[in-house]
Symmetry: C2
Subunit: 426 residues, 2 copies
C-alpha cells in the first residue's frame, strides 16, 4: 500500500475523493454500532448464567459458619477471600471483599483520603489545596475523572512500552509532597494493553515519595484476562513492596466485572495489613457489610481459584477472534500507509490506535456520522485532552464479529480520510 | 407489685439480697443470647429464600429492554423504581435505586456534602469548620456515627411522643447556617417506635433553615414494618414539602434489608427531581451502576408493590409474638415497681426501655454478666452519652421466643437489682 505521507497533494486529493464516495455508501447503510466501552458481549455473559441460581437453600448460604443471608461481616467471607487471594497475589488477610464495583472501591478510597486522610496522611487531602495525582496516559478515563472530581491537579505521565515513564514518576514524587498518588493498570493497561516490565514494578516498590501518604492505585483489572496461552507476566508489586518495606503505599484492586456479570460481580481491595485495618475502621461507618450472598454465589459457582482461571479461558476463546479481526483489518488496510500505528495486546479489553497527529477527533467524528460510536478522542488523557489528538481506544468485545468487521472497515476508511485531509490542508 | 421507690432502705436491702440469689442461679446457667441489634431471625429470612434462585435465564434478566447482566443504568431499572415508588411515596423519577445498604446511601450523601457540597451548598461542608447536625435522641447510633466521623458537632434534640422537639428544631435551624441537617426515623422510630405526628411532619415541611443546604435525612427504615393491622400512619413529607416548595430539603431512604435479605437487599434514596439530578451527576464518578441483577431479583420475587406488602405480613406474624412477650414480661415483672417505663410500639424493630435514672449502664453490665448482650447503654444518644443513663434499646427479633422469654426474665431481674442498688446507695 502507498505511504500516504509520500503522496503529492494531487495524488492525495484524488485518493481522498475516491474514499469519500466509499464513505457515502457506508453512511447510506445506516449502521448503528457501539465500540466505545469495554463491555463484554452477551455470549460472554451467558457462560456465567449458571451462577444466577447456584444458591437455592439456606444451607447454600452458610459458609464459614456464617449465615450470609443476614447482617454482618464487614470485610468479606473468609472462604471468598481465599478464593481471590491467589489472583490478587497476597494472603487472604490483606483482602477486603467489596461490592459490585472495584471502581467504587477506588472512588471510596480517594474519598476517604479527602475526608479523613489515608493511614499516614498528615491532614485529610481536602486540606491540601495543591493536591495532585499522577495519570499515566493514555489511561483509563474513569480513573482520571475520580481524582478530577475531588479537585486534584492531574499530571500526565507518558506511557512507554514498559509502563509509565518511571524517571519522571521518581523525579516528581520525590520532590512534591502534594502528589498523593498514581493511577496504574499494570497488566494489559487500558487502553494500550501494555504490561509493566519487572523493572517498572521494582521501581514502583522502591519509590520514595515526599508524601508519607502516597498511594499507588494498582488497578489490576485485567489480571486474569489473557487472550493467549503465551501471556504476559506481571511481577507481584505487593511482594516486591514488602521486601522494601513500602507495602503501605500499594492498594491493589480486582473485580469479577469482566469475569461473571458486569455490575453484579464482586470487587476486592488489597493492601498491607495496617492499611486494611485502617480502611476497615473507616468502612465501619459506611456499611454493615457488602453483599455476602453475591460473594457466596461466586464461591459456589467457581468452587476454587482454578475454577475462575478455567472460566477465563472461555472468555479468551470468544474475545480472541475479535482482537485478531481488529488487528488484521488495521494491518491489511492501514499497514504501510503512515495513517497511524497500533499495539497488538496479549490480553485486556482494548486496542490502542495512534492516529496521524491531529486526526483522532476527526476520525471519531467521521465514524460517528457513519454510525460507529467510538470512545471519545482524548478520553484516554487527563481532562480529556490528548496533546497530539492522536490516541483512539478501540473496544472490540461487545459487537459481533460481523458487526466488528463492518465497523473496522469504516474505521480504517475514516482513518485514511482524516489523514488525507490533514495532508491536503498542510 | 410494690413500688420500689416507696420502700425503706431495709426493705430494699432485703429485697435486693433475694434478687441476687436468683441472679446467681441465672448466671450459673451460662446463657448466651444476643438482643443487641435489629437483626431478623433466621425463620424470617427463610420466607425470602425463593428469591435466591428466582432468576435462572437470560430472559429473566432482561427488564425494560435492558440486559441487567451487563454494565450500565446508573440510577436503577425503571420497573424497579415503579415497584418501590408507592412505598417511598413519590413518583418513580424521584428515586435512585442503590446497592445493598441504605446506610451506605446516607453515608455517601453526607460524604458528598463534605467533598462537593449538596446542590445548594455555598461551599463543601469540609470547609465549614463549625458544621453541626441535629440528632433526635434516643435515636439510631449509626446515624449519629456518620456525622460524627465527618466531624460534625452533634446536637441532641429531645424526642417527644410526637417526634423530635420541633420548637427546638425550628429555633436552632433558623439561626445557625452551620446546622446542615437532621437525622430522622419518622415511622416506628429507632428505638422508641414513635411515629411522627402530622403536625411534626408539617413543621418539617415548613422549616426555614438558615442553611440553604439543610438536609432532612428521612430514614423511613420501617415504612412497611407494621406489627398490627391497626398501624401508625405517617404523613407524606415529600408531598407536604412539595406543597411548601421545600422539597429540595428532603432526602428519603428505604431499603429491603428487613424485607428480604439483610445485607443483600436493595436500597432507595428519593428526593426532589433537582436533587436526584444533582446526585446522579456526582454518582457518575463513583460507579457505573449498582447491582441491577439484585434489583431484578426483587422484582421477580415480589412481582409488584402489593407483593411486598403481603410479604411484610409474614414478617409481622413472626415478630408480633416476640414484641408481645417483651411487653408482657415488662408489665408483669416491672409494672408498678417504678423501675422504669417503656413504649409498646406498633411496628419497627425495637422496644425502648427507660430505666430509673442512672441505672442503664448497670443493667446492661448485669445482663452481660448473665450472658445477655444488649445494645450498649448510651448508644442511642450522640457520642454514646445518655445524660440520664436511662435508655436501653431492646431488640427482640433475633432470639427465639424461648430464648427471649429467658432473656427478659433476666433483664427484668437486672432492672430491679440496678434500681435497688441506686435506691440503697442514695
Amino acid at each position: 500500500m502507498a505511504n500516504y505521507l509520500e503522496l503529492t497533494k494531487e495524488e492525495a486529493k484524488s485518493l481522498y475523493d475516491g474514499l469519500c464516495k466509499e464513505y457515502e455508501e457506508y453512511k447510506a447503510r445506516g449502521l448503528k454500532l457501539d465500540m466505545s466501552r469495554g463491555k463484554p458481549a452477551a455470549l460472554q455473559i451467558d457462560i456465567s448464567n449458571k451462577m444466577l441460581d447456584v444458591l437455592s437453600s439456606t444451607e447454600d448460604c452458610v459458609v464459614n459458619g456464617i449465615d450470609c443471608r443476614n447482617y454482618g461481616v464487614l470485610d468479606g467471607i473468609p472462604a471468598v477471600k481465599e478464593l481471590f487471594a491467589p489472583i490478587v497475589g497476597t494472603s487472604a488477610e490483606n483482602l477486603i471483599i467489596g461490592g459490585n464495583s472495584s471502581l467504587t472501591l477506588m472512588y471510596d478510597l480517594i474519598a476517604k483520603g479527602m475526608t479523613h486522610g489515608l493511614k499516614d496522611s498528615p491532614v485529610p487531602w481536602s486540606q491540601v489545596p495543591g493536591r495532585k495525582f499522577l495519570c499515566p496516559a493514555p489511561g483509563y478515563d474513569r480513573h482520571f475523572a475520580i481524582t478530577e472530581t475531588f479537585g486534584f491537579e492531574l499530571i500526565t505521565i507518558p506511557m512507554t512500552p514498559t509502563g509509565p515513564d518511571m524517571d519522571m514518576v521518581e523525579e516528581l514524587v520525590s520532590k512534591d509532597p502534594d502528589i498523593k498518588g498514581i493511577w496504574c493498570v499494570p497488566k494489559y493497561s487500558n487502553p494500550d494493553g501494555i504490561t509493566y516490565s519487572d523493572e517498572t514494578v521494582k521501581r514502583f516498590a522502591t519509590l520514595k515519595p515526599a508524601a508519607p501518604d502516597f498511594a499507588i492505585m494498582w488497578d489490576n483489572a485485567y489480571v486474569i484476562h489473557d487472550l493467549y496461552e503465551d501471556k504476559d507476566e506481571l511481577l507481584n508489586l505487593m511482594e516486591e513492596a514488602e521486601k522494601c518495606g513500602t507495602q503501605d503505599m500499594v492498594y491493589t484492586f480486582v473485580s469479577t466485572s469482566k469475569v461473571t456479570f458486569p455490575g453484579s460481580g464482586v470487587s476486592v481491595v488489597a493492601s498491607s495489613k495496617a492499611n486494611v485495618d485502617y480502611i476497615k475502621k473507616l468502612l465501619f461507618f459506611q456499611t454493615i457489610s457488602y453483599d455476602k450472598l453475591n460473594q457466596v454465589r461466586h464461591l459456589a459457582f467457581f468452587k476454587n481459584t482454578e475454577g475462575i482461571l478455567e472460566h477465563m479461558k472461555k472468555h479468551a476463546d470468544m474475545l480472541r477472534p475479535k482482537f485478531r479481526m481488529v488487528i488484521d483489518k488495521l494491518e491489511s488496510q492501514l499497514g504501510g500507509t503512515g495513517c497511524g500505528n497500533w499495539i497488538d495486546p496479549k490480553g485486556g479489553y482494548f486496542i490502542s490506535y495512534n492516529a496521524y497527529k491531529g486526526c483522532a477527533k476527526r476520525i471519531v467524528a467521521l465514524c460517528k456520522e457513519a454510525g460507529i460510536v467510538l470512545t471519545g478522542a482524548g478520553a484516554t488523557f487527563p481532562y480529556g485532552k490528548d496533546p497530539d489528538d492522536s490516541n483512539i481506544r478501540l473496544a472490540p468485545s461487545f459487537p459481533t464479529t460481523e458487526e466488528l468487521s463492518q465497523a473496522m472497515d469504516i474505521f480504517c476508511l475514516c482513518a485514511k480520510m482524516a489523514t488525507l485531509e490533514k495532508l491536503i490542508e498542510a
